[in-house]
Structures are given as C-alpha cells and as structure tokens.
Amino acid sequence: MASISPVTVEIIRNALQSAAEEMNASLFRSAFSPVIYEMKDCSVGLFDEQARILGQSAGLPIFLGNLEVCIQTAIEMYGLDWFRPGDVICMNDSYMTGTHLNDITVFSPVFHEGELVGFTANRAHWLDVGAKDPGMSTDTREIYQEGIRIGPTKIVDAGVPREDVIDLITRNSRFPVAARGDLNAQISACRTGERRFLAIIRRWGLDTVRAACAEIFAQSERLDREAIAAIPDGTYFAEGCLDNDGVSDDPVWVRVTVTVQGSDITIDLTGSSPQRPGATNCGLAQTISACRVAYKALINPDAPVTGGTFRPLRVTVPPGSIFAAEEPAATTWYFSHLGLLIDLVQKALAPAIPDRVAAAHYGDSMVVTFVGHDPERNAPFFNLEATVGGWGAFEGGDGQDALINSVNGDFRNLPVEVLETKYPILVRRYSLRPDSGGPGRFRGGTGAIREYELQADGALYLWWERSRCPAWGLMGGGDGSPPQVIVRNPREDGSWEEVRVLKANGLPLRRGAVVTCMTGGGGGYGHPFQREPARVREDVLDGYVSREAAARRYGVAIGPDGQIDEAETARLRAARG
C-alpha cells in the first residue's frame, strides 16, 4: 500500500467521525419513539467492506461496536454477491445481534462505481415487536414469547421498498405506526451515511481512503497499547450477582477474570451462571460489546472508536452461559448482567490502578412501565421509563447524584410536565434520596425518588435489580443503599394495601394507587472517617447526608446551629476509627 500523508489521514479520520455523527443526528431527529430520541436507545456506524468500524456514534454506550457482527452474519449467510446498490437489510434475531428482539438493526451496502466499498448501519429500540405483553415482559422463558424474530432480510431491494415485508414486520407490532416511523428514520440514517461516505471517497479516491483507514486503525491500536502497557501485569478477579432472572429467585452470577499482559487485555467470564430460564441472557455479540465498553471506560475513553480500537482485547466466554445464550433462551433483559460485568471489570482492576477506577454505581436501568386505558383521553396508555440513580465515587471526586446507569449513556428522563400531559399519571415527587450514597472519603452519589399516582386503572411492570449486590465501595468506602419500590393500592374501604417488589409483570393498579420508586446510591471511595469534616458539613447543609448519618457513618458531629462540633467529632472518630 502506498504511503500516505499524515495530513490526509487526519482529515479523513475527522470526516469519517463527522459522517457517523451526522447519521446519528439524522436518526435522533426523525425517530418517532421517545425510546430513540429521548433515551437514545440506538447506535450508528460506518464500516468498510470487511465490516470494520470506520466511524461510529453510539446513543447507548452498550451498543459500542455491536453492529459489525450483524453485517458479518449476513455475509456468512448469503455471501457478498447478495448485496446490490440501494439495498436496505433489517434483522433482530437475538442470537445473531446479541441484544433483545426490540432492537432492530438496519444496514445497507455502499457501492462506489459498481464496487462494494463498505456498509452503513444502525440499531434502534422499537417500543413493541409483538411480545406476549406490551413493551418488555419480565417473565418470559423462551424467545418465542418475546416477539417477531427476523434474520437478515431485505426491506429495500435495489432501491425499491418491499412493502409486503415491511408490512409483515410492522404488523407484528402493537404500535405499527411508530414502528413504520422509526424504520423510516433508520433507513434515512443509512442514506445519510452512504451520502457522506461516498462524498469522502469521491474527494480523496478509494485507494487513499483505504490507506488512510489502515493508518487510522494502526493509530488507534498504538494509542490503546500505550495505555494498557501502563497497567501492571497480572490477573485480577471480581464477582457479583443479579437478584434473579425474573422467573426463579436464584441469584445470577457474573464472574470476571481480567488478565493484563504487556499491551494485551483478556476478559474471561468463566464461572458465570449457565444460561437461565428467565430473560437474563444475551447473545455472544452483545457480551463482546459489553467487554468493549468495560475496556473503553479504562483505555482512552475520549478517543473515537475505529477498526483498530479493540485489537488488544480478547474475550473468553463460556458456551451455554448467560453470556452466550442459545436457542430458545429468553433475552428481553439482556443488559442487566452486562452492566454488572462492566462494574466488575472496574472492581477487578482496582488493586492495579486504584486512581483510575470508580466504585460501583446503582447498577441497572430500573425500568418501570405503566399500562392501561385512559378514560379521560379515551386511549390506551403505555409509559416506560428508566430511572436515574447514584454513581460511584473515585479518587479525587464524589460520585454523581441521580444520573442514568452506565449502559444507558445519553438517555434523558421524561419531563413531568410532558408525562402528565400524555398519560393519566400524576408524579407526586421527583427528588434525590438522602443518605443513599455510600459513605467514603469521597461520597457515593445519591439515588433518586420518583413517586407516581395513577389517575386510571392500570397495571405495573417492573424490572429492578441489584438489591442483593448493591453498589460496592472501594478502598474502604461503604456500599450504596439498595433500591426499593413500594406499591400502595387503595382498597374499597379506604385503607391501603402495600407491597414491596422489585420485579412485577402486570401487577394490577387501581385508580389512586401510589408507586414509590427509590433507586440505590453509588459506592463510596476511601474510608469515610478520612473525609474532611467541612465537606461532611456541606453535605448536611445541602441535605445529601442527614445529621444522624454524618455522626454515625462519617464520625462528624454537626450541631443544631449547622456548625461542626469539633470535640464530639474527635471523640466519634477516635472511638471507632
């Protein structure tokens, strides 16, 4: 390959990244479902003809580098000759794509002067793909209960939309109009990527672009290897569990062994739970993707992802486990154990690089869904929300309060004013949850409280996690509080029926029912007695920490006047320090 100027390489590198961001903007701005445009449950990428990443922009971090496998699967099944200019292909099979059936992957080949030169792809979460329950069931036992299953299928054939196939796919959704709208947005994003990719090729020539990509990959790899080489060699282990799989009450174990050797990293998941009867399973492709997220959080988090980024990473996955599910495993909640995996990689490496990792965060998306019929608007309603919680502290900083979980990235919560305008739900409270952050020299972030009151009869679906294994602290820091959901239904006699649950599948709610959702806090970092009393006082004045907890957990006495009682603080810290 001819040598190429570093100037050209850098210009092409920026142009490819900008093209991916443009695709993402196109998808966000024209999608129909809030899950895409608000929660950013989507990703886009531009690939070369071997399905290597040229540029990507993930709305959802856990979607990092999970699109190329879809393209590769289609190539394996039908060969390169299958693709024609103007094609658009769609697929969602969990065992191929790695995620749940709600995630629809759409991609199209890019041709330049008759030659296949690359692909443009995206993935987006659809509200409904025809599962046994609306949205996402919490108690499925096999994939056939989870919706329509699509292998690589042409929905646009050489530029001509296949209306019959599109109808088949969208007809299976409870919300066919939204499905059609989202699909249009996805096709549009592919076309945007194709236009920009071809413009770059026309500007620089195909050979130059290919040579530049080879150099871009090499630069990414070099950059990452430099960072990995700085981590002490060794084998590091951590384990943790999910509460259950939604069907049985047994914990779901995740065991992570990280080996650093020179400039290579291996993540080995041997010892993790075998495939489960409930829906905490995912395809191999998504496990690799999650390991890439864990890797990216440690190695050059700010650098763009390219085809060279993950070359130093090896992933070992036990076959037949929750991380490499096989037919007919259910996969609706494919991400809960992946979020845990990402936290555990940080925990494993804490002894090696204590100043670069963070304590655990509250852990999962904490999904709460209300469905029912709205008499005022005379329409069915369906509101699915993920809930923010506390993040882990780290050397140099407190954990962030009330932030969305790691797999969800740039997700945005639903404004109360929008929610109440659309659905028969009143939000009674949306606040921080004081004292939920793990105590530490650096404090874990606090969880959140979101309290709903139903204005119509309905049903509740809950997928809440991490009560058995709440956010752990590091280096002497305490754990964050576990999550809690309290459901109170009014009885006819005016009294209340109260239950505490974390998972629910269609729990009936009567008009007036109150659901109080409290997410966990993040883990603390360093021993809480090492926290400066002045900072503990600030937390008390702002109400993140109660006066009682300041004394009990931090050994800092704050008087009724809001001032530090120095003598009592010294006594508390000496007595238990």
């Binding site: 100027s5 570093p6 100037v7 390489v9 850098e10 920026n14 900008s18 443009e22 903007a25 196109s26 701005r29 024209s30 129909f32 479902s33 809030p34 445009y37 608000e38 993930a58 971090p61 990092l64 109009v177 939204a178 249009n184 549009s188 990414s220 070099r222 430099e226 997220v293 988090p301 700010d302 940080q346 990792v357 923010v388 993040w391 882990g392 962030q400 009330a402 932030l403 969305i404 790691s406 969800n408 990235g409 740039d410 997700f411 945005r412 919560n413 404004p415 004013e417 929008v418 109440e420 305008t421 009143l426 949306y430 606040s431 921080l432 959140a448 004045l541 702002d542 109400g543 993140y544």
Partner: protein, 681 residues
C-alpha cells in the same frame, strides 16, 4: 430619531471596539480601547468619548454587552433562591439525568448555579391542564418569606409545575415576595420562558435570575454616566435573538443579553446580505482560540429556540452560534504517530511560538508564519513583530516526528484545521438539510479571512466576502438593527383539534404584550411588524419544526390547517429526507416575533473608479501547494472600488490578513468589500 452620528460599542475580552457612522457624509470611523474588566462602563465610556466630542449629537447608540455572559461564565452571578413546587425541589439538580460523556465513569453534570440548600418548596400543585389541584394561599408563603429574608439573597427564581399553562400560583408567589421583600430581583418562569418541560424552564429562569442584578447594575451605571455626559437618544442593547432593545427593557429581560456581544457577527452578516441583496450567507469568525459559525437563511439570521450554554438549557430564542476550538492559537500535536490540531490552544500566554513570549509548541499562526502568509514586520498593524525562526523551529520539530518537510507540515496543519472548520459548518447546514453551496461566506475576525478560501473549497462555496473593518465587524453590524422581541405559548393540539378562535386569542394576547414592549421603546404602531410562527411535529416525535404561519393566511383557521400540514411535510422532507403523510401532525407551541422597524436603509454603493490591480506594497515569497510563489501584498487602505487581481495575493490591514490562494481572484465592490471568487466557477 435624529440624523446624528450612529455609534456601536462592542465589548470583547481584551478590546472594546467602536464603529461610528456619519449619515451626513456616509463615512465610518473606528475606535479601539482596552476593555476594563470589573468596571466595564469605564472602558466603554472612554472609547465613546474618544470618538465623539458631544454625546448630545448622537443620533443612535447601540451596545453589545458581555456583562451577563461574563457573570455566567465566571460564575460570579447573584446569590439566587429557587422556589419550586412541593416534591420537586431536585428537578433543577437532577436535570435530565443524562450522561453525554458515555465512557467517562467520572462524568459530572454542570454544577448547579443554585445549591440545593437554596431551593425552597411551596405547597401547591396544578394539573397538566392548568386546573388547581392543591390551592396556594398567601399565608402558605410565610415560611418562604422568612427564609428568603434570613438568607441574604439578591434574586429569586420561581418555577412551579405547569406554570406555563396557568401562571396563577407563580404570580401569587411573586406578588407576595415583591410586597414583603421589595429589594429582591424576581424572575418567574412563565415570564421568562412560557414553554413546557420543567427542567429546561427552571434552568432558563435561574440563569435569568443569576445575571439579573449584575446586568441591571451595569446598565444602570452605564446609562447614568452617558446621560450625565449629555446622551439624549435611548441606549440600545443587542439581544441574543439578533435584535435590539432599550436598556430599561434589557434590565427586565437579562437572559436576552447573554449573547449580546457574540451576536454582532451574525447581525453584521445579515446586514451584508441586505446590502448585497444576498439571501443566504455563512458568517465565519476565527479568532485566537475559537471559530464561530452563524447562518443567514432567506435574509434572516438563523435563530434557535433550544439553545444551551455550558450544558445549561435555555428556552429563549437565541442566534444559533456554533463554536469549535479552532483558532490561530490552536496547537498542533502528535498522537500515536498521527497529526492532530486543537482543540487545545496556546491562548494569549504564552501564545504561538512566533509571538516570542516563550511558546514552543507549534500553532496555526506559526504555520501561517512559516508559509510567509503573515507579514512578520507588520503584524497587528506593526504593533508587534513575529519571530519566524521560532515558528519554523516549532513546526520543524513536529515535522520531523511525522517525517514531513517544514513547509509540508505547516500546510498540513492548516489543511487539518481548515477541514475541521468546514465540518463545523456542515454541522449547521448539511445536518439540517441545508446545502452550503447555495451560500457565500462572510469572513471576519483576526484569522477568518486568512483561512476562508480553503474552508470554502472544502464546502464547494465559490464566493467569499471580506467586509470593511473585519476586526470590528460585530460593532459595525449592530449599527443597523431593528428592535426584536419574541413570545411563546405552549398549545399542544392535534391539528384537527385546533380551535381557531382559541389559537387566534393566544396570538392576539402575545401580540398585545409585544406591542406594549415595543411602544415603551418608542416604536410607532406603523413600524411594528408581527411574525406568527408555529412549532409542529408528528404525533409522538420530540423535535419540533418551526413554520411561518403566513402561507396559511396568518391564522390557524379550519381551511388553513391543510396548507400548514402540507408545508410541514415538505419541510420535514427537506430537513430529514423523508416525510410521512399518513402520520398525524400536532402543534406544540405558538410563537410571535414582534419587530420594531427603526433601522435606516443601508448605504448606497460608490461607483467603481479604479481598474485592474492596485500597486502592491511588496512582493514576497509565499508557499502554496508545496511551492513558493512570488506573491504581491496589498494594503487594504489602497484598494478602491473596481480594483481586481488574481491569486496568489495577500491583503493586509490593521488586525486582519486576507489570503487569496492560486485559483482565486479578488475584486473590490462599490461598498469597499473585498470579494473573493473561485476562478472558473
């Protein structure tokens, strides 16, 4: 309005620029004084009195102020108390819960301007339709008033749930506080940003409250000083939306002064459009650390209704300014064997290596110096000389690491930064379905005209306009601006459920408010223009498209809805590439822009007397495309209408250098603008 001197004053971080226009003679005068941080009015008044002997002779005075923006950026705003609905104390701190830096486990939200201890709840609640669920009584506010009295606050922000639908409780809180604590500045969300989404509305109201006392004090002091020196005409202030307002209105709407300074470039770009009768222009302002892009589309400055500043959303119409970290001071560096430029900057200290102030890392300015594009002896009009050997040394070290020649590396640095700037323009245009090839570039700022030709080439733009006084362009632009105010009401309805009388009522209500504000600023009824627009989307979508109502007859009658919906589908197709005729469409917001037409007509051109190329001051070797070309250097002062010449050429003036590369030609039009054209187009 008298026919006296028209003056604009634009405060920058280092200098305050002034431009004066004398309508009697049609001539301009510029002034430049050092900005006086802390007491900005001192520098402003000094600059003004240097330029004008008797302020009583002024016919028009406009000011772009950074008082509010600086208070915000430096976090030196007022101590603010925030009042919220019971149960929602933390809406402001939780924000939208999102994490834009997705692989950063240490991500932190922007630090709230109001700490949690200063947020107070009041016992009240409205439903989404504005009906009262939990009534608020004046006596319920006693604890709040006591806390505010004890807290030593300067300002209060009030944002209650659903107040955009029914402000009754916000008004009650406001009236009680005003009565009990008359010294406090009060900002109500329904007055600052009457739109749904409680976090965004709270954020907007808090920023308003945060800067209100600072803006008020500054404008009060300035106006008092100017009046004492004889000013008779109103003092006008630039607004973030690209219009102007009188200083007393600005003190009531401080949020609208946030971009008062930076917006001048966009306004100037629009003025160039009016003078040259060009509808579509891209304004590019490249300075030492940043590159700002603004658009003029169809003769109008591109204004966004969803702006944000340092992560804080602002629901208030603002000129859409897209900024990236690319400027003369941007550093070139090597990462993993690859060349990178920016976003880090050498700043003013130590600055580029060629400034000779201890900088050793190569910058964009050093690359220009190496290539001979900057005159080492006459930099900044001769106030500073450049150390070209130091620039060569800095660029040379980088070149050696990349295996390139020094000139090759220098041209490479410029190519990378030029393409980055072109990508920034794509973000504002191509991403929204706008084709930049239909635009001309207006290049200003210290470095804009030096890079414009390459940026234009990357975007296939064939015309560049370098205005007069490119270093004081913002101030120049402010000279001929209209008064402009905006109003909004959230009105969520499917299009087939619109009640025309109700919509008309809301429009009239907004127009009544705006007419009142315009009248206070001495705008006669005949000079008031109201532009009605509507925010629409497909049912279920989040993002909005703003459409003018005028094609549908300026009302939302039953017969007009079909035309409006058709226009919406069309716009959606042009912006996103597809439309969905079968999907229902809804209205979200009704908006009115009220314009008070006070700007005089633009000046007339002078006849072109000159011909051919002027005499160059010198001819010196400059590198283009790897080769050294003997390149004529012209003084801007010597250029006359009618002059034309071809690249390579360089034009120098006080604070700016224009580079005309081979393949481009330049001419001077009847207004003195330097027009660059890609040859053969």
């Amino acid at each position: 309005m008298s026919a006296g001197l028209r003056v604009a004053m634009d405060i920058g971080g280092t200098f305050t620029d002034l431009v004066a226009y004398d309508p009697a003679t049609g001539t301009y005068q510029t002034g430049k004084v050092a900005t006086t941080p802390g007491r900005l009015q001192v520098g402003v008044v000094r600059g003004l009195t240097e330029l004008v002997d008797d302020l009583a002779t002024l016919g028009f005075l406009v000011h772009g102020t950074t008082a509010g923006l600086n208070a915000f950026l430096e976090r030196k705003g007022a101590r603010v108390a925030l009042v919220t609905t019971e149960g929602f104390r933390d809406v402001y701190e939780i924000a939208r819960g999102n994490r834009p830096e997705m692989y950063n486990v240490r991500y932190r939200k922007p630090k709230p301007l109001v700490p949690r201890r200063d947020v107070y709840e009041v016992p009240e609640r409205l439903r989404y339709d504005g009906t009262v669920l939990r009534p608020l009584r004046p006596e319920d506010l006693r604890p709040l008033v006591a806390a505010l009295r004890a807290g030593g606050y300067e300002a209060v922000a009030i944002c209650l749930l659903h107040a955009h639908v029914n402000p009754v409780h916000e008004q009650l809180v406001r009236d009680v506080i005003r009565r009990e604590l008359p010294g406090l500045t009060i900002s109500c969300s329904h007055e600052v940003a009457r739109e749904w989404r409680e976090y965004e509305r709270t954020s907007t109201t808090v920023i308003n409250a945060y800067i209100a006392p600072i803006v008020s004090r500054y404008l009060g002091a300035l106006e008092e000083e100017l009046r004492a020196r004889g000013l008779r005409e109103p003092l006008y202030i630039m607004r973030s939306n690209g219009g102007i307002m009188t200083a007393d209105v600005a003190r009531e709407q401080p949020i609208q002064t946030l971009l008062s300074g930076p917006v001048g470039g966009a306004v100037g770009t629009a003025l160039i459009g009016r003078i040259l009768d060009r509808a579509n222009l891209i304004g590019v302002d490249m300075g030492g650390t940043s590159f700002d892009v603004t658009l003029v589309i169809g003769g109008q400055v591109d204004v966004t209704n969803e702006a944000s500043l340092e992560g804080f959303p602002i629901l208030s119409p603002m000129v859409n300014i897209h900024t990236i970290g690319a400027g003369g001071g941007s550093l070139a560096w090597v990462e993993a064997g690859g060349l990178r430029v920016g976003p880090q900057s050498a700043g003013a200290e130590p600055g580029p290596a060629c400034y000779g102030r201890g900088g050793t890392e190569p910058t964009v300015t050093d690359a220009n110096a190496v290539l001979g594009r900057l005159d080492p002896e006459r930099f900044l009009g001769g106030r500073m000389s450049l150390d070209v050997p130091a620039a060569r040394e800095a660029v040379g070290r980088l070149a050696a690491r990349l295996g390139l020649g020094v000139e090759e590396a220098a041209e490479g640095i410029l190519a990378v930064v030029n393409h980055k700037m072109a990508d920034a323009i794509r973000t504002l245009t191509v991403r929204k379905g706008i084709d930049p090839r239909e635009f001309a570039l207006v290049a200003f700022g210290g470095a804009g005209p030096m890079h414009a030709a390459w940026i234009a080439e990357a975007l296939e733009i064939d015309t560049i306009i370098v205005p007069n006084f490119p270093g004081a362009f913002s101030a120049w632009g402010m000279l001929q601006t209209d008064i402009r105010h905006d109003a909004v009401r959230t009105y969520l309805r499917a299009v087939n459920q619109v009640d025309p009388a109700e919509a008309e009522g809301l429009y009239r209500e907004m127009e009544g408010e705006l007419a009142g504000i315009l009248a206070r600023q001495h705008v006669a009824g005949a000079d008031m223009v109201f532009i009605r627009t509507v925010d629409m989307r497909y049912v279920g979508q989040e993002y909005l498209l703003n459409l003018p109502l005028s094609p549908a007859g300026d009302r939302i009658g039953p017969d007009d809805v079909a035309a409006l919906v058709a226009a919406f589908h069309e716009r959606h197709r042009s912006v996103y590439g597809h439309a969905s005729e079968r999907t229902p469409v809804e209205i979200v917001n009704l908006r009115v822009t009220g314009v008070g037409r006070i700007a005089p007509p633009p000046p007339a051109p002078r006849a072109g007397s000159a011909e051919g190329a002027p005499a160059p001051r010198q001819v010196r070797p400059v590198v283009f495309g790897g080769r050294s070309h003997p390149t004529p250097v012209y003084e801007r002062d010597t250029l006359q209408p009618g002059h034309r010449f071809t690249g390579p050429a360089i034009v120098t003036e006080l604070t700016t250098t224009t580079v005309i590369p081979p393949g481009w030609s330049a001419s001077v039009d009847g207004f003195g603008h330097l027009i660059l054209s890609a040859r053969g187009v």
